[in-house]
Every structure is written in C-alpha cells, then in structure tokens.
C-alpha cells in the first residue's frame, strides 16, 4: 500500500480581493525528499506556505498532512510540521535561548531537542544569552531554523531559509536540510536561488501567478531545459561566424560592438566548434556559460522571456 505523503494539497485556491494569489494548486511532498518551490515575487509561494502552515485559510481546496485533513488553525493535524514564512520573527527583548524556551513550552513538554542543543545545531550557541533585538537578519534566519528543529518535525516548511546568510552559514543550513531529508524528513522550501535548488532539492516546483507550472525531478527539469549556451569572445567574429556555418552549433551574433557571440549546443558540439575556430586561425579570447539551463527554463515557464531572448535582469541577477 502506498504511504500517505507528508503533504498533499488538492485544488488549493486563495485570493485577496480581486487578486488571485494561489489558484487550484495540487501539490504532493513525500517524506525523505527536499522540494524546492520557485517563483517570482508575488507568484504565490508565501501564500501557499502560509496555508500549509495553517496561518491562512484557503478559499477552496484542501490540505492533507500525513493523510490527515488539516484545516486552517488545526494545530493537532500539524503536530509534525514546523517552519517559518518570510523572515522569522522573535521577541527582541528576550534572549535567543529564552525565546526558544518559551516556544518549547507552547509545543508541549516532550520537546525532543533542547533549546541549547537547537542553538548549537545552527551555530548560535555562543550568542544564546544575547537579546534577539541585536541579531542580524542571518542570525534570525538561523534562530528560525533552530525554532523549527525544536519540534523535531517530519515536514519542514521553510521560506527562503538561506536569505541573508553568509556563504558558510548558508552551506551549514543546506547540509542540515539534506541530513534531515536523509533521516526521512520532508522538506519544502521556497527559494530564489536556482543554484541552491539545484544543489539540494530532489524535486522542483515552479509556481507562476498562483498556478503550479512545473512539478518534476531535477532530471526532468534538466531534460526539459533549453540547450546550454555560451558567450564567446573571439579575435575575428566574422570568420568565426563563417566557421559556424558548417558546424552543428547555432551561433548568434551580438548586436553591439565588442558584444560576444552566443553559441548554442551541447558540450561536445561546443568543444568541436572551439577546435574548428583554432584550426581556422581564430583565437578564443574568452568563453563563459550563458544563462544556466534551469534559469532559462524558469524564465520560460514564468513568462520571463520575450521570444527566445532572456532578459538581462534574469541573466545577471538570477530570478528577479
């Protein structure tokens, strides 16, 4: 018999006034996996997570947590759930440890992880006595993760858990999440960081204008992604274009002076093209990847392209 998923939503819908925030979302999150929820700002990610955490009642549709219907505010059905949305917030006039102690009291007396242990897990043990009012955004993010771990959750719901973290702390968080998944925890996280999603997520969910437009594994996503592209600066663009005419790669010539050429094709095709350029006496001065395939697919799925051209803001800054 198939086990109940950690989380399952059916036709989940929520609107605010005339604005449809989430529209008919069907979602399934299984234990032992990390799910990455992607979407542009205002796509409905946080609203969806708020409904999953019980902070918001859906207009229609249903949420099941480990096979049990979970209405908004139904705490008992969410005993195995922990997480946070937006920036985690705490009482600034209390220390980090005191904040966790009070939250542990609200969880019941059988907390599996002590506040001090949770603080050590997120590398905040040396600041446990400091008032949270003096914490940076990144420290509050880590404290939010510690607060979630206090509940020893089977389903962890996190809204951009690494935002504001320094690279080392972000790595710690990613490692922790992967370890949790290996121990059977289902992790649903939203993120703007495509590389992070590619690194730690087993499945990728993309939401656009309230609707789920992609639900698949990393492999599915890679397969559906457009062919990779590279930007190439050569010593002679005209001759390079001529070489490309007889090559399996597709070449786009930049419209501006000194703009690079864009080469579309797989790794082997790219290598062959570079060798052909060398044979033709054209020097390759610089070669770098263009839009990563996942970002390119994301842009396509979320309406971020005009024809086949990916906007510069997507190229340079990742997802806006």
């Amino acid at each position: 018999m198939r086990e109940d998923p950690a989380l399952e939503t059916h036709a989940l819908t929520k609107s605010f006034g005339d604005r449809m925030a989430v529209s008919g979302v069907d979602l399934r999150v299984d234990e032992g996996s990390v799910y990455g929820l992607l979407g542009r700002n205002g796509a409905g990610k946080t609203t969806l997570l708020r409904m999953v955490l019980g902070l918001l009642a859906p207009d229609s549709g249903s949420i099941e947590v480990f096979g049990e219907h979970a209405a908004a505010g139904d705490i008992a059905a969410r005993d195995a759930v922990a997480g946070f949305v937006e920036e985690p917030r705490f009482y600034p006039y209390l220390s980090a440890r005191r904040n966790l102690e009070l939250l542990a009291r609200l969880d019941g007396i059988q907390a599996a992880v002590t506040p001090d242990a949770a603080l050590r897990l997120v590398d905040l043990a040396d600041r446990s006595g400091d008032k949270v009012g003096g914490f940076s955004t990144g420290m509050r993010q880590r404290l939010g993760l510690a607060a979630a771990l206090l509940r020893s959750p089977r389903l962890l719901v996190l809204d951009e858990p690494t935002i504001g973290l320094d690279p080392a702390s972000a790595l710690t968080v990613r490692t922790t999440l992967r370890s949790l998944a290996e121990r059977g925890v289902a992790v649903l996280l939203s993120s703007h960081n495509m590389a992070e999603v590619a690194e730690i997520c087993d499945r990728v969910l993309i939401i656009h204008e309230g609707s789920m437009v992609w639900d698949g594994t990393q492999a599915d996503l890679q397969a559906a992604a457009p062919a990779p592209a590279w930007r190439v600066w050569t010593s002679d663009d005209a001759r390079a274009a001529a070489v490309a005419t007889g090559s399996p790669v597709r070449l786009e010539v930049g419209g501006r002076p000194a703009a690079p050429l864009t080469v579309h094709g797989g790794d082997e095709q790219r290598d062959a093209f570079v060798l052909e350029l060398a044979a033709a006496g054209v020097a390759v001065r610089r070669l770098e990847p263009d839009v990563p395939p996942l970002e390119a697919l994301f842009a396509v799925l979320t309406g971020g392209v005009d024809g086949n051209v990916v906007p510069e803001r997507v190229l340079v800054g990742g997802v806006a």
Binding site: F16, T46, I75, R89, L106, G108, T114, L121
Partner: protein
C-alpha cells in the same frame, strides 16, 4: 523518542511521531505570556510604581496639613491608615485601573502584530484558543496583581506611617480597626470586579485595532468619557447601563446597614461587559487570517478611525439620554441618609470627646432641599445631583428641643455627598477631648453615600 541533551554534540534530530507529542495546556500559554510581560522593563517599572506611589502618598499625608477632602475618605487620610488606603482606592479605581488594563492588556495582542511574531507562535502546538486565553488570563492576572499591590502597599504604608485609628464610615458610623481592615480589604477586592471588563476592553481594542497605542490609551479615554457621563447624568436608565456603575459598589461596604443590591448589580454589570468584550475579542481573533501585511485590502478604513467614530457616536447618544429616567437622588432619600449619618457622627464625636458610650436613641430629623428654597414651606420634593443642596438637622426630642443645625451639601451623581456644617452649631474643625487632646471634629465636615438605586 530521541533526545538531544544540552551537553551532547550537535546532531540532526530524528523526527518524532506526532502522536507522541504531549499537548500543552492553558497553563503553558499563561506562563509564556506572564514571562513575556514581566520581561519588559516598562511594565517592571509600572509594578514598582504600584508599590512606591502609595507609600509616598502615605508619607505625604502624614506630614501634610491639608487633606484631599474632595475625595471620599480623603479628609481622614492623615488620621488613619484605613482612610489613606481608601483615598488611594478612589483614584486607583477611577484612573489607575483603566491605565493598568491598557498597559498590561492593550498591547498584548497588538505587540504580536508589531513584532511580526503571530506566525511564530501560531505554528507551535498551542491552539489559537489557548493562546487567546493565555494572553487574557496573563493580562488579567497582571492587572489584578498590580492593583492588589497598590492596595496592599497603601494599607500597609498607611497603617505604618499614619496609624491604625478607627475609621469613620460612609454612614457616619465608627468602624473599629479589626472591622476596618476587613472592609478595606474587601473594598479593594470588590474593585477587582470593576477592573476586569476594562481588561477585556483593552484586549478587544488590541485585537481589533492591532495598535498598541489604541489598546493602551483606549481604556483610559473610555474611563474619562464614563466619568463625564457619570457627572452630567443622574438618570437611572443611563446609569444602569454604564460600565462605570460598578466602580461605586465598594461604597456600600462602608455603609451601615450594608445593602447587597447595589453590590450585586455592580457585579452583574461587570460580568455582562466582560462577556461582551471577551466574546467580541475572541470572535475577531478566531476569524482572522494571518496573511501578512501585503494581503491587507488597500481600501480598508483604519481601525482607529472606525473605533473612534463608534465611541463618539455611543457617547453622544448616552449624553443625550443622560437625564432620561427617574433619579434615586431625591430629597426624601437624602433626608433619611443625612439624619442617620449626622446622628452617627454625633455619637462618634461624643465618644471621642468623653470616652463614654453615647446615647444612641436620639431621634434626628433632616429636611433637605435645593437652590436655597426655604425648607418645609410647601416646596416640591427636590432631586438630582448638585452643589446647591442645603439641609436642616433637628433633634426632635420633645424634652430637649435642641436647636436647628444647617448644612451645606454637595450631592454627586454617584449618590455620595459632601457636607459642610455651620461651625457655630457643631464646633470648629479641631476640638479637644476631656483630657485636652485635640481631635478632628467629625461633624465639622463629612461625607456619606445614599446610593443611586
């Protein structure tokens, strides 16, 4: 279930089975809220002030030559510690209680909005009902304890600094120290009932407005409006529905004979408002979505404006109705009350002066009227609050035929009165006992209450 001990190296916890979680009770939510309240230094200062201010007042009363005679029991505040405490009770109940309710309860929900911590506590294992009740109980306990600290501090400081002499009650009766202690304590305890609806109102404002300023100041402003309504209106209809009516219930405890009706009415009125405010607060919190600030409808009128408009409208209506309905402040009832009070005070004065029991069979008769109209010359029965009352007191024993004493009297809308006697008839403010020791002449000026129902 695995447990990560404090001294163990950090390891990733193993998820638990949901059924293994022990559901927290209401006590956990109450303890959490009390911990949060007592961790905030402004509220710690308030608690300290609740102790220190009454002590300072007692010290001032001990040294001052002028007493706050406009306040009930104020004229005795420098004579006996029981009166010192009751003088403080007047102010604490009228203004202190709404302020305490606002400070402890008015921000307890709104602060979660301001700090953005609703999402933090609503994703734990305590239900929304438990969180609501936890905050409500913690706020109520905090206000009660703070108010009780004022009472204890004022009584202890009063007895220690001013003294433990007998108390003169609101019917002019002498109350021994033992009885006075119990009555003062009961008066403070009864006032806790009047405070509680204000705590509920502060909770309601805190939830409805999501603003700590409105939650804190709202009860204080309402108390001022109620004072205004109580001052201008003596009509039975409005008085019976005002939440300030129970404020005066403790007066009955210091009146002889004790009337339980007004006390019961005060308790019922308080319970009624408590139920209305609490249910409304719970309803608003129960139906609220925690969608984040971005999801708030843009055209939503600010809660502060809506609440202000509603309060102003209700106030105007009540002001318009303030004089409607009969009044219990009639000359007939005043005659009875003044005669009894004056007679009791005459006995007290005799006993203080001679040290011997007074004759308690002397029949006193009072005739009161308003506006300087000659009394007893076929004038109609006066009524209502005002400072233009005057009374004549007569000892109607045929054998003695004592002279007539004239009193100037201010009758307040809450049914209490202040009396100034003619010095020529009752003597000076200070008179000497048979041993030459001066004492305050209780007949020179005195207070009493006849109630409003």
């Amino acid at each position: 279930m695995s447990t990560v001990a404090d001294d163990a190296p950090p390891t990733i916890p193993v998820p638990t089975v949901p059924a293994g979680r022990v559901r927290p009770g209401l006590a956990a939510a109450v303890r959490v809220e009390l911990a949060k309240l007592t961790a905030q230094w402004p509220l710690r200062i308030v608690i300290v002030l609740c102790v220190l201010v009454p002590v300072a007042f007692a010290v001032v009363m001990r040294a001052a030559s002028t007493m706050p005679a406009d306040t009930l029991f104020g004229r005795w505040a420098g004579t006996t510690g029981f009166a010192t405490s009751l003088t403080v009770l007047n102010w604490a109940a009228s203004y202190g209680a709404p302020l305490l309710a606002g400070l402890f309860a008015g921000d307890i929900f709104a602060s979660e909005d301001r700090l953005g911590t609703w999402k933090t506590i609503l994703t734990r294992s305590s239900t929304r009902t438990q969180l609501f009740l936890g905050k409500a109980v913690a706020a109520t306990l905090s206000v009660w304890i703070s108010f009780a600290m004022i009472g204890v501090s004022s009584l202890v400081a009063g007895l220690a600094v001013v003294g433990s002499g007998p108390l003169v009650g609101l019917s002019g009766q002498a109350v021994g120290s033992g009885s006075a202690f119990g009555l003062v304590a009961a008066s403070w305890a009864l006032s806790l009932v009047w405070i509680t609806p204000f705590v509920a109102l502060a909770l309601l404002l805190s939830i409805a407005s999501r603003s700590g300023i409105i939650g804190v100041l709202g009860p204080v402003l309402l108390a001022l409006v109620l004072q205004l309504l109580s001052t201008v209106g003596s009509g039975q209809i409005v008085r019976s529905v005002l939440p300030s009516t129970p404020l005066d219930a403790w007066h009955e405890l210091l009146t002889d004979p004790l009337r339980t009706g007004p006390v019961l009415q005060g308790v019922l009125t308080s319970v009624g408002y408590l139920a209305v405010f609490s249910c409304a607060a719970w309803y608003l919190l129960r139906r609220r979505d925690f969608a984040g600030i971005d999801a708030a409808p843009a055209n939503r009128r600010p809660a502060a404006v809506r609440i202000s408009v509603a309060v102003a409208a209700i106030t105007v209506v009540l002001l318009g109705l303030s004089g409607v309905g009969g009044t219990a402040l009639t000359a007939r009832r005043l005659n009875t009350s003044i005669a009894a009070t004056f007679g009791n005070l005459a006995e007290v004065r005799y006993e203080w002066q001679t040290g011997s029991p007074a004759d308690n069979t002397i029949p006193w008769q009072a005739n009161c009227n308003r506006g300087g109209t000659p009394i007893g010359v076929g004038v109609s029965d006066s009524s209502g609050a005002g400072d233009d009352w005057s009374c004549t007191i007569t000892d109607i024993r045929p054998s003695d035929g004592a002279g007539v004493t004239t009193l100037d009297l201010t009758l307040k809308s809450n049914g209490c009165y202040q009396v100034q006697s003619s010095p020529g008839a009752v003597g000076a403010l200070y008179v000497n006992d048979d041993h030459g020791k001066p004492f305050i002449n209780p007949l020179y000026a005195f207070d009493g209450c006849l109630g409003t129902s």
